[in-house]
């Protein structure tokens, strides 16, 4: 479904990605793990059209995404939950979700999206008129995911949904990610530093280190990999 080939991205003189290749099969959850500054966020932002690659190719269902504006990428069915729960702090929950459906014109479809998001995250419905900046961290993360779902994506990219959230809520959110994948058939590319959880819920995993993929395998196999164990799963 998504095919990234030899992607190279730099910020001015700093090269963040040195030829990253990965592929995501339809219906799967694929995770991209790696430490601070490995280039995970850079990868997602480039797919979304927020950054321009120096070299390489990004194919979505065989169509190149390179050079497309972000709104065109959203129109094609890709949606992005940005790092750090960037919800619109001065808008209400309802308005944030409306922003997620920004490109959607059909009122009935928007209503259906609201229902489906509220079915996944009942908490958001309770807080519909609350200003997003006053939500708890976990609720903001739910909102960020809900907002991304409002565009009715076929492919969802999530950037560290566990960041700065209480462990109990992290578990809930990861269960929701699995639910979104299973029941709505949305393919997911999950970026995480919490490798343990990410490998638990995903089918396939890639390990990114300083802008290069150093390992890739089935998630179950990666969890047994001694290198991954020592570097990302908290020791042997």
């Amino acid at each position: 479904m998504l095919e990234i080939k030899e992607l190279a991205v730099s910020y001015g003189a700093i090269t963040a990605l040195h030829g990253v290749s990965l592929s995501v099969k339809p219906g799967s959850i694929v995770t991209l793990i790696g430490g601070n500054g490995a280039g995970k966020t850079t990868t997602l932002r480039t797919v979304s059209g927020l950054l321009k690659p120096q070299a390489g190719e990004i194919l979505y269902n065989g169509k190149s995404l390179v050079g497309l504006k972000p709104h065109r990428v959203v129109e094609l069915g890709l949606s992005h939950v940005p790092e750090g729960r960037m919800v619109f702090a001065n808008l209400t929950v309802h308005e944030n979700l409306m922003m997620g459906a920004y490109l959607q014109r059909d009122k009935n479809l928007i209503r259906a999206s609201f229902e489906s998001v509220f079915a996944t995250f009942p908490r958001l419905q309770e807080r519909e008129q609350q200003v997003a900046g006053t939500l708890s961290g976990g609720e903001q993360q739910m909102l960020a995911i809900g907002r991304a779902l409002m565009s009715r994506p076929k492919f969802l990219m999530m950037d560290e949904p566990s960041l700065g959230i209480a462990p109990l809520l992290v578990k809930t959110i990861f269960e929701k990610i699995v639910e979104i994948n299973r029941t709505q058939g949305i393919t997911i590319l999950l970026v995480e530093q919490n490798a343990n959880l990410a490998l638990e819920i995903s089918h396939f995993g890639y390990v990114l280190e300083t802008g290069k993929i150093i390992l890739s395998d089935n998630s179950a196999a990666l969890r047994q990999n001694p290198q991954v164990k020592s570097a990302y799963l908290g020791g042997g």
């Binding site: 927020l50 972000p70 959203v74 940005p82 960037m86 001065n90 565009s151």
Partner: protein, 311 residues
């Protein structure tokens, strides 16, 4: 069916009309301050769309005002003789048309300034818009057809309380309705988090330019009102200090807080009048005021509640 805000708009226009009807009996000094207040409300509320709601920083609002003032005055003063017969000699038809023309030319300039705003942010945008304002001023100084540095005289006195406050009401309504519409929520989203907004497929570029174009349009209209009130305009009347004055109103009122900005515009207008005897020291007082405010109440004087602000 009219919405509640539309009723408010109609009521405000009706009040302006009523107040205008009796304006002959008012003290001229009071009338002068009232009209200046109305003009400044229009200027501050329209700048608030650019600086407050979309979080850009424009220092060129007086430039847009100048363009509107000169364009409208050109229509009524230079071409008035030819145009008036076309509208049956009715100045109340010619005047809004002239104002509208001024607004359009100003919004075109807004488009020109809005385009660089896509690539620039913060301080750089402030410098570009400041440069724009100065360029307009220097250009006007060198166009002899509109009086050059001496300015333009004999502009007919068409402005009254009705036009002034009618425009102010329409400006407040338009900015309010724009920001509170589903489409307009995008202005706040762009300000809250530009990257997230972009990732949602929100065309942040279009919002920023729209803010400039709409803001400039109303500043241009305010310029036209001003020209037909003072009956004399000169380039130096639209300098950097005028832009700063409007920015201070927005900061004082609280960025993105329309009611606060209206109160601030009125207060500052009255304050400016009372400070007039201090001449150029006014600017120093202004600067001090901004510094003190930024330190003590960065959210603005009139933003009390945390309803829409979280920081």
């Amino acid at each position: 069916m009219l919405s509640r805000s539309q009723y408010y708009l109609l009521a405000a226009i009706a009040v302006a009309f009523g107040a205008s009807w009796f304006s002959r009996s008012y003290n001229p000094y009071f009338l002068d301050i009232a009209v200046t207040c109305g003009i400044n409300i229009t200027l501050a509320v329209s700048l608030n769309l650019i600086n407050g709601y979309t979080g850009q920083f424009s220092l060129g609002h007086a430039g847009f005002m100048a363009i509107g003032a000169y364009s409208a005055a050109t229509v009524t003063t230079i071409f008035g003789d030819k145009l008036l017969p076309l509208v049956g000699g009715q100045t109340w038809i010619l005047f809004p048309l002239a104002l509208y023309a001024g607004g359009l030319v100003a919004s075109l300039a807004g488009l020109l300034v809005g385009v660089p705003s896509l690539r620039l942010r913060g301080d750089y945008l402030a410098i570009v818009t400041l440069g724009f304002g100065e360029i307009i001023r220097v250009l006007l100084q060198n166009i002899n057809a509109v009086g050059g540095a001496r300015g333009m005289i004999n502009i007919p006195e068409y402005t009254n309380l009705f036009w002034t406050f009618g425009l102010a009401a329409i400006t407040v309504y338009t900015v309010w309705a724009l920001v509170n519409s589903t489409y307009g929520r995008g202005f706040i989203a762009v300000n809250d988090d530009e990257v997230a907004a972009e990732a949602m497929g929100i065309n942040t570029t279009r919002y920023k330019i729209t803010a400039f174009v709409v803001g400039a349009f109303f500043a241009g209209l305010a310029g036209g009102i001003y020209a037909h009130f003072k009956q004399y305009i000169a380039p130096q009347g639209f300098g950097f200090d005028k832009s700063i004055e409007i920015v201070v109103m927005v900061i004082l009122g609280g960025m993105g807080n329309t009611v606060g900005v209206i109160i601030a515009a009125v207060l500052l207008t009255v304050l400016t009048e009372s400070l007039r005897k201090f001449g150029d020291y006014r600017m120093i007082l202004y600067s001090l005021l901004i510094i003190v405010l930024m330190i003590t109440r960065p959210q603005g004087l009139f933003t009390w509640t945390a309803k829409r602000k979280t920081a």
